[in-house]
């Protein structure tokens, strides 16, 4: 009640104002946004299929020649339902069962149902060898 009394004492520019239709419209947008976010999160929390991260690695593009060797772009996809952190991946060039060259990379996060890209760099031309791609391990976030 004290609020109302002192509010009326203030100058005209600070008179309490009602809420216009436009403001109510924006407020409605806000309501929808919060409600949608909460509803989605709760739905996801209930429906979320559990399980470990399931990572698959594949080569993306053609081998690219760079100044200091060759680049192979790879993509890691997480088909599982939890996020993988600090994902270590490696690519090995092989010839007749012996390893010729290694390259590795670490990806900070691969969220569930998401993909992340990385490059392997070799000094030998990967086209001359068999390229073996591997996901070596990951941490739970």
């Amino acid at each position: 009640m004290a609020r109302k009394q002192s509010a009326t004492k203030q100058p005209a520019t600070q008179q309490p104002t009602g809420t216009s239709y436009l403001e109510w419209a924006v407020a409605a947008v806000g309501t929808v946004l919060v409600a949608a976010a909460i509803a989605y999160l709760v739905w996801y929390g209930i429906a979320r299929p559990d399980g470990p991260p399931e990572l698959a690695i594949r080569q993306l593009s053609e081998i690219q020649k760079i100044r200091d060797g060759y680049l192979v772009e790879v993509e890691v996809e997480n088909y599982g339902h939890s996020t993988a952190a600090a994902v270590e991946i490696s690519g090995t060039l092989e010839q007749g069962g012996t390893d010729v060259e290694d390259s590795s990379a670490t990806i900070d996060y691969v969220p569930q149902q998401s993909t992340r890209q990385a490059f392997f760099q070799f000094s030998e031309n990967p086209a001359d060898y068999t390229l073996k791609l591997r996901v070596k391990g990951m941490a739970k976030p």
């Binding site: 600070q14 009602g18 407020a27 989605y40 996020t83 998401s114």
Partner: protein, 244 residues
Amino acid sequence: MLMTMEMWWLGFTVEPFRLALLLFVLVPMLTGLSRLGGFRNNLHILDDVADSLVAIAVATISAVIVLALFNLITLEMPVREVMGKIAVQMFPAAIGAILAQNQLGGGVRDKMEEVESSYWGELLILAVGALFLSLNIAPTEEVELIAYQMSVWHVVIIVVLSIALLHAIVYMVEFTGTEVRVESFLSVFVRFTVVGYAVVALVNLYLLWTFGRTDGLSLHEIMSLVAVISFPGAIGAAFARLIL
């Protein structure tokens, strides 16, 4: 917050129920803040509710635009990742929107005089001050790193120091404010400083839990974390009273 990488990561690592609860708390909290000094002088509580929903709408749309601009959300990303990244930002952005209006909008000073007469209002301001500062710090890994490096005695000292700083600032506000209250040291200390620090600590514990920072930690480690984050939190809370 939009430029903190831990916040993006939280978008897909956070426990969905905890994030939903945080958003659920948002509307009543913003309404309380708006009541204390938001967009305008409101006669009816419904107008405050409208103001906080407007703040949320503006905050969410801004967050989406900035996240898209930073290429942190794209159309190719799965819904879960995009929704998570946006939802994590809604909370700090909406508080920011209300507080910015407090600071930049006119007519705040007059209203704050009224606010200072309400004890619960002051506690809410302390809590929001702590929340706003801690939100920037709680998701980062540095909090954990600092907590692990500190011994028990470091923790004790940082708690004492936080309380002392909080009291110093509370005391300063109390006697430079428009209404000079003649209260004993003990009264101010117990009613504002101790309770204030407890509020700050609880708010921080809640935030750490929401972000999953307390999972799997021993009680001792949780307390160290809360003490570390309450150090800036307490100072933020105290200055929130001064500024807001």
